[in-house]
Amino acid sequence: MAARTDVWTTLTDPLIRQNPVTLQILGICSALAVTTTLATALTMSISLTVVLTLAAGLVSVIRRHIPETIRLIVQIVIVASLVIVIDQILQAYFAEISRALSVYVGLITTNCLVLGRTEAYARHHAPLPAMVDAFGNGLGYSLVLILIGGLRELFGKGELFGHQVLPLADAGGWFTPLSLMLLAPSAFFLLGLLVWTVRSLYPGQTEAPEHTPPLRAEPAE
């Protein structure tokens, strides 16, 4: 029974409590760049989860054979090969989304999240837990991406997955699109607010203030 709860916590912990994006600041680059629409966010999430799970499994299988000194290069080559496969699949079957994602699929290679998980977890654990952990982290990342992507597409265009959800003012409805939502700054604001929300729900995650202001001397009467 104990083993099963272990697997369950490994899988569910990274979803919100240990979320890789909001708590560990890993893999933010792509989290912000591809979230202008829900479709690209979803494609990116799936690609990253697949790469992460497979990479963790592979690294974990050969973990006893990788020499300590060159382990980073070995891990990067494994990740890069998987990313090339994913990139080719996307180009072949989802050409339009692949163009929208531009270089960001290739950048999964240097996504700190992938290297962070293989380096911190998969290197020391058996293949099954490593893959479960990687899958959980992939899901946590996907959750943030889909949330931000959905919000940006809904308020930026009034659409979800390209279907009109809110009637536009131009077409006789009531909704005026917020074009700021489609630009870079809004992604930063949304993620900042998300971090604030998560940390208010789990106060243990707040960072200790770096400086404490000196106590003000009471004015002598």
């Binding site: 990067i76 090339i84 630009l183 604001f189 900042g192 604030w196 929300t197 940390r199 707040t206």
Partner: protein
């Protein structure tokens, strides 16, 4: 010449790596707590980017691009799918090389960089510089200018963010917002500022 200058300005400000294209954010946020560290990171980024982008350009054109092996009787060979692995290898090697040179000849600078240099291998902004170079098919001169410009843009942005964060360290923020949360909001505000460069470029 003016064309190259325009490309430099575009890479540094209009297409600013962290603030407009969201590249290299991990180090951008993690190392912007202290101005000294931020400046060190900015200089290292500029150095590595302006070396690796032209180098990767030579490798791509000479070895990987479709038709690069035509002289050897293999005109149909297209190795461009290998570019990701090749670029990562070049970046890792040049970071290592830069570190060795600095360690041997400029120990003071090497000590100032500390741990940042090896970290740059897995910096998405650096890999992205090379990938953009392929996607936009720059020439050798253009890719050198593009690498330099992107590095300078990154350095400016990270130094500014570090300055603002130091300034805010005494501010009385809500507990959940301090640290990472406020850094995101600041980056958003700076990104709004940098968006005005895009407007200026569009107006021309």
């Amino acid at each position: 010449m003016t064309e190259l200058w325009g490309l430099f300005l575009m890479a540094a400000f209009v297409d600013n790596m962290p603030l407009t294209l969201f590249l290299g954010l991990c180090t951008f946020l993690a190392l912007s707590k202290r101005p000294e560290a931020a400046v060190g990171l900015g200089v290292a980024m500029t150095g590595v980017l302006s070396v690796t982008v032209p180098l990767n350009h030579l490798i791509y054109v000479g070895l990987l691009a479709p038709g690069a092996w035509a002289w050897a009787g293999l005109p149909d060979l297209d190795l461009s799918y290998l570019s990701l692995i090749a670029f990562i290898g070049v970046i890792a090697a040049s970071v290592q090389f830069l570190e060795m040179i600095l360690d041997r000849f400029f120990p003071a600078i090497h000590a100032a960089f500390g741990v940042f240099l090896p970290l740059l291998t897995v910096q998405c902004a650096i890999l992205a510089g090379s990938l953009f170079m392929v996607e936009r098919s720059y020439t050798l001169a253009q890719s050198a200018v593009f690498g330099l410009g992107s590095g300078v843009g990154f350095a400016v942005a990270v130094a500014m963010l570090a300055a603002i964060r130091t300034r805010l360290s005494y501010a009385d923020l809500p507990a959940g917002l301090s640290g990472l949360g406020i850094a995101f909001v600041l980056a958003g505000l700076m990104s709004l500022g940098f968006a005005s460069f895009a407007q200026m470029a569009a107006a021309q």
